[in-house]
């Protein structure tokens, strides 16, 4: 038999097996969620009431919690990460950069439970005693900072997610920026640009699609993050504009309630939340791909 043919067959099997595993996951989760889907239909994502005793399940608070915490964490993390990556690649001496980069990536290696423990024992009390009263006193007229300072809140979750997402975005952005050809930078400097202008004009636009991809990957991690968020978000299914109010995310409710799910409907409702989470993650990644594709069309360069 032709060795090449065998090689091709094996790698094809490997490639498709990933897709098959994904398809099986989707199929199994849909099957388990059917009782809940049949009973609630679309009301599941529009209803806010989650009552295991009465058998009424509505997942809107969890959807809201997941989306808001992840998007806000991303908005805060992206400028931080781009700044860090630019510093590592362009501004600091090469040796120092080579030292800082692995340290940032070390942040990604810390288990999420450790973040959760640190969050609930250190960060949440600190937020409660310093940051939150400050926000209430000075910005309390805004609907985003109203309510009592509990410490554990949407704000704590956003901060923790931001810390967890920064290393991913930073390391990918750093690689993207390193891939910018020297000729681009030299051309900008030759035209009289200052270092700052060179970075803004030649480096960042070149790596735009890669940076976007990095940000979306960060978003994907933030949406799925379970333990760290569960420990600091307060686990109260509220929908509120205020960042100081406790909230609840989709992975948190599954982690909290699945082991002791009392009735079949309860288990099925949690499975449906899991299914929604899976679909949301797939949509986010698909959107990311589309964005990168459309951006890379115009930029004419950079990692796609």
């Amino acid at each position: 038999m032709n060795g090449d043919l065998i090689f091709r067959a094996i790698t094809t099997v490997f490639a498709f097996s990933i897709l098959i595993i994904l398809a099986i996951m989707l199929a199994e989760m849909t099957k388990e969620s059917l009782p809940s889907i049949r009973k609630f239909g679309w009301r599941f994502v529009t209803n806010s009431e989650w009552d295991a005793v009465q058998g009424v399940f509505g997942a809107l608070p969890y959807l809201y919690g997941s989306v808001v915490s992840s998007v806000l964490a991303l908005l805060l993390a992206t400028p931080l990460s781009i700044g860090a990556a630019v510093f590592i690649t362009e501004i600091c001496p090469k040796r120092v950069g080579a030292l800082i980069a692995p340290l940032v990536e070390l942040l990604a290696a810390i288990p999420s439970v450790i973040y959760g423990l640190w969050g609930v024992l250190v960060m949440a009390p600190w937020l409660q005693s310093t940051v939150q009263p400050f926000l209430i006193d000075h910005f309390g007229f805004l609907p985003f900072f109203q309510g009592a300072p509990y410490g554990v809140s949407m704000l704590a979750a956003v901060f923790i997610l931001m810390i967890m997402v920064v290393p991913i975005i930073t390391s990918i952005t750093r690689e993207v920026l390193l891939a910018v050809p020297l000729s681009q930078k030299e051309a900008a400097i030759a035209l009289g640009a200052t270092r700052w202008e060179m970075i803004m004009m030649a480096v960042l636009p070149y790596g735009r699609s890669g940076i976007l991809g990095a940000a979306i990957l960060g978003l994907g991690r933030a949406v799925g993050e379970t333990m760290a968020v569960t420990m600091v978000i307060g686990n109260a299914p509220n929908i509120s504009l205020s960042l100081l109010s406790p909230a609840y995310t989709m992975p948190s409710v599954i982690a909290n309630e699945f082991a002791e799910a009392t009735s079949k409907l309860h288990g099925s409702a949690l499975m449906e939340v899991g299914l929604i989470l899976l679909v949301v993650t797939l949509i986010i990644n698909a959107l990311a791909r589309l964005l990168i594709w459309s951006v890379s069309k115009d930029a004419g360069g950079g990692a796609a």
């Binding site: 005793v53 686990n235 609840y248 982690a255 002791e260 009392t262």
Partner: protein, 342 residues
């Protein structure tokens, strides 16, 4: 050279695996799964029992009461353990008569963090249910002040903490609130996971305790053993006789002694709010779930021997680990039930 070293290591590993496997099959292995609450006590029991009877080995996984019920119903384990008893439908779903054997009792303690109040907070049943119902929102509410004449209660909002994960502790606590407050029974009900009107959710006893320790003006509920081990302040609750009783091993046992007179044959009874001057009101049994007709006779015999040992010797070890042993009259009833296991 490397190849031959690798080969010999592989051969040694295979031999070791075979040897341990052969060794393991010589003794009977009995698997159980269920509640996390009695896990420290059961571990001690299994370790002590292994010294007495070397031919049997117990393996217990504390996956939670719900998990224990599921596994024993599916017969993937030899015995289950649960802090809540099975409902009639769940019993019907089990392939065979499933016995509930109470082993020890646990209490749920109300803990709090009020700067300036180190201990001695007294709460009546009505006050507690209204705090958790969101009706009483401030620590210096008249209803709380009325019961606590000597304490200086601040005019701060009460931050309520409950369990976010489903648990037997929540079952017992909400069972108590339902039995003392018809409004709570109607609006919220009882169960391992309920729709809490107010409050933050902490994951596990540790989550609730951590939240209370780090946040002032909080109130929450944890297991008695947990509160004592971590030196958390606890509240004195008013029992059905009208006394403000301190949670302790003695007051927990007193609750079951009071219930022994009306104990149903299958022991599926709630021990909250029991009569008796010294009975602590938030108490529950924890049960071992065992099939009356054992499929594996060898395992069944070993299990019965263990149960008899546990009812006599095991109970003595309970108090040291902060579990309340069964009162003598209840233990005698359980011994009779164990005799019915074939």
């Amino acid at each position: 050279m490397i190849k031959s070293i690798r080969k010999s290591i592989l051969a040694l590993a295979a031999l070791a695996a075979l040897a341990t496997a052969a060794n393991a099959s010589a003794e009977t292995l009995i698997n159980g799964a269920g509640a996390t609450f009695p896990y420290p006590l059961y571990s001690k029991w299994f370790a002590e029992y292994a010294k007495i009877d070397k031919s049997v080995k117990f393996n217990y996984q504390s996956i939670g009461s719900g998990g224990g019920i599921k596994q024993i119903t599916a017969q993937t384990v030899d015995f289950g353990a649960s802090d809540k008893f099975l409902s009639d439908e769940e019993l019907k779903a089990a392939p065979g008569k499933l016995l509930h054997l109470p082993t020890v009792m646990g209490a749920v303690v109300v803990t709090y963090n009020i700067p300036g109040v180190a201990k001695g907070l007294k709460l009546s049943a009505e006050t507690l249910s209204q705090i958790y119902g969101g009706k009483i929102v401030s620590w210096n509410d008249l209803k709380i002040v009325r019961d606590n004449a000597g304490l200086k209660l601040p005019s701060k909002p009460i931050i309520v903490v409950h369990r976010s994960d489903g648990s037997g502790t929540t079952s017992i606590f909400t069972d108590y609130l339902s039995s003392v407050s018809p409004e709570w029974a109607k609006k919220v009900g009882k169960g391992a996971s309920v729709k809490w009107p107010v409050g933050l959710g902490g994951k596990g006893n540790e989550g609730v305790a951590g939240q209370i320790k780090t946040t002032p003006f909080t109130i929450g509920y944890v297991e008695l053993a947990y509160a004592f081990e971590n030196k958390l302040p606890y509240a004195y609750l008013k029992n059905s006789a009208g006394t403000f009783i301190e949670p302790s091993i003695a007051s927990t046992s007193a609750a079951a002694a009071g219930a022994a007179k009306s104990m149903p044959a299958d022991y599926r009874v709630s021990l909250v709010n029991q009569p008796g001057k010294n009975a602590y009101p938030i108490v529950g049994f924890t049960w071992l779930l065992v099939y009356q007709a054992q499929k594996d006779k060898v395992k069944g015999k070993k299990l019965v021997e263990f149960l008899n040992w546990e009812l006599k010797q095991g109970q003595k070890m309970a108090a040291k680990l902060l579990y309340a042993p069964l009162p003598a009259n209840v233990a005698k009833m359980v011994e009779k039930t164990v005799k019915s296991i074939r």
